[in-house]
Symmetry: C2
Subunit: 309 residues, 2 copies
């Protein structure tokens, strides 16, 4: 154990936990892949169904999730086995036959409620949302066009065309999101869809044929015209709109000249440590608005304040 490992862990402890992480359910792969065990869990009287309105949760009195008996699932719904809770009960979500699914992020009013949801419930919701949405948007086989059906407790869809028989698995799309540092300042950008005044870390999907580090360098060059070196992994987060794995990194730039891709960004600027601090504190004189608490971009900014200070 090096001194730095210890230091990194100490600092990590000082940061708030990452939102949408920390799902307390046991995914119980041995149950999921065993039809007999899965059927028993599903038939048990204490099996629970996550109550959803479309893809949104139904909020309980405490702002958390709501559960109902599994028997209340709509007829013909695709059931997803989310796992076993602390009491050993099977927890499920359902993709109803008519559900359309959506790749869009949560609407602002919903987002505000989710930002205030207890961490445990938010993590369960995130995983469930990605899976239910995936079922809704993958009812057909991409290989042959025939109908697919949910299999393996909702963790797979299988083609019903005997000549094809392709199996399909839930998508998880890796996305890099990065703080770029130059001379003690951070590069942050503004997308046109952001709330007024908000700046955040640049981000983009990892493409086939590149490493995380290469994706970071390509995205920053494409979006802001800035070349980076020394890309370093910081943290990761599952982000269920619709199924991203956010891979949060730090990188260093030697030349601060910015050339914006106006198809992606409305603005990008370098902010000083004092400016970032003011934004994280939500001060009235802050030159920009920081990302919300559930965004890994905010975690990255807090990590930077704690770690590079």
């Amino acid at each position: 154990m090096t001194t730095t490992d210890t230091l990194a862990r100490t600092l990590a402890r000082a940061l708030p936990p990452i939102a949408y992480a920390g799902n307390p359910l046991d995914r119980a792969d041995a149950v999921r892949t065993d039809p007999v065990r899965l059927a028993a869990v599903q038939a048990a009287p204490d099996a629970q169904l996550l109550v959803l309105d479309g893809l949104a949760p139904e909020f309980g009195a405490d702002g958390g999730l709501t559960w109902a008996p599994l028997q209340s699932a709509p007829d013909g719904a695709d059931l997803v086995f989310l796992g076993l809770d602390e009491a050993g009960r099977g927890c499920f979500a359902a993709a109803a036959p008519g559900l359309g699914g959506s790749t869009a992020p949560a609407a602002p009013n919903l987002r505000a409620l989710l930002d205030a949801m207890p961490a445990r419930d938010l993590a369960i919701y995130g995983g469930a949302r990605s899976l239910v949405d995936w079922h809704a948007r993958h009812r057909f086989c991409a290989r042959c066009g025939h109908a697919t059906q949910a299999t393996k407790g909702g963790w797979q869809r299988s083609c019903t065309n005997a000549d094809c028989g392709a199996d399909h698995f839930p998508r998880v799309d890796p996305v890099t999101i990065m703080l770029v540092e130059h001379d003690g300042c951070l590069l942050l950008g503004r997308q046109p869809r952001f709330p007024a005044g908000r700046y955040s870390a640049l981000a983009g999907f990892v493409e086939p044929g590149e490493t995380v580090e290469e994706a970071v360098a390509r995205e920053v060059l494409e979006e802001a015209g800035v070349r980076v070196r020394d890309v370093r992994y910081v943290a990761s987060q599952p982000w269920p709109y619709p199924s991203s794995l956010m891979i949060a990194c730090h990188a260093v730039a030697d030349d601060p000249t910015i050339t914006i891709d106006q198809n992606e960004l409305e603005d990008a600027r370098w902010f000083t440590r004092e400016e970032v601090s003011a934004a994280l504190e939500g001060r009235a004189d802050a030159p920009f608005g920081a990302p919300t608490h559930t965004a890994v971009a905010r975690h990255l900014l807090e990590w930077w304040m704690a770690h590079r200070g």
Copy 2:
């Protein structure tokens, strides 16, 4: 810049580069997303086509890739714009109409040729293979079952059903692969499909709703019954069979008791530093065979020997 950053970079330089990384082509997103610029690159007389036999490359005299004029692409093929080479030429790959695609890794004889391919060409091939295979296996819309067509230079497929219109993007599937350490020994496992004597790092797909770190802990517990802490990112690698992003990590176990999931592993054992060293050197008395040079598992083992020694 801390001492450890410097140390980490020095050690990183001492390790061989990661196979399938280092693609020298400029992905030229500004060309890809501009139909006029893309058409000009495609119509240029120096535009090149990567020669493939199904999904396998045609090997040149130097063991590298073979290119042909783009005009030689099969009629009706879906073209993928791979990027611009150092001379500014457009480089393309083609998914022919009859191509079936395959999720299987390269066959052993092909794998041996790929292991010897020049690094630059291997990186180009990997990205191209993932994309061509994706087109072959995604000719239909998973949302509505209608035909899709390639768009945006082959980096998207769009549904031809006007009532649907869904856009689909190439998959990149994040996979965790991890060295687990206990008392100076490493946990390695054997899948039944491995060559005789081979042991390698445990690995598994990241699922919706979990972080990289959570996926590492879950996989090691599922496959080997070992609980881990202090998961640490080491490196990443694009792995084109069919479209994985390998996320290589290190973790620590306090209790070395192994309980194997026999559906996943044939064996799992702790190996000493001396045993790992013997395997990496390919010594006749080594207790196991190390992964091949192109596998990120071998990079992890070499990183561990250099870093934790």
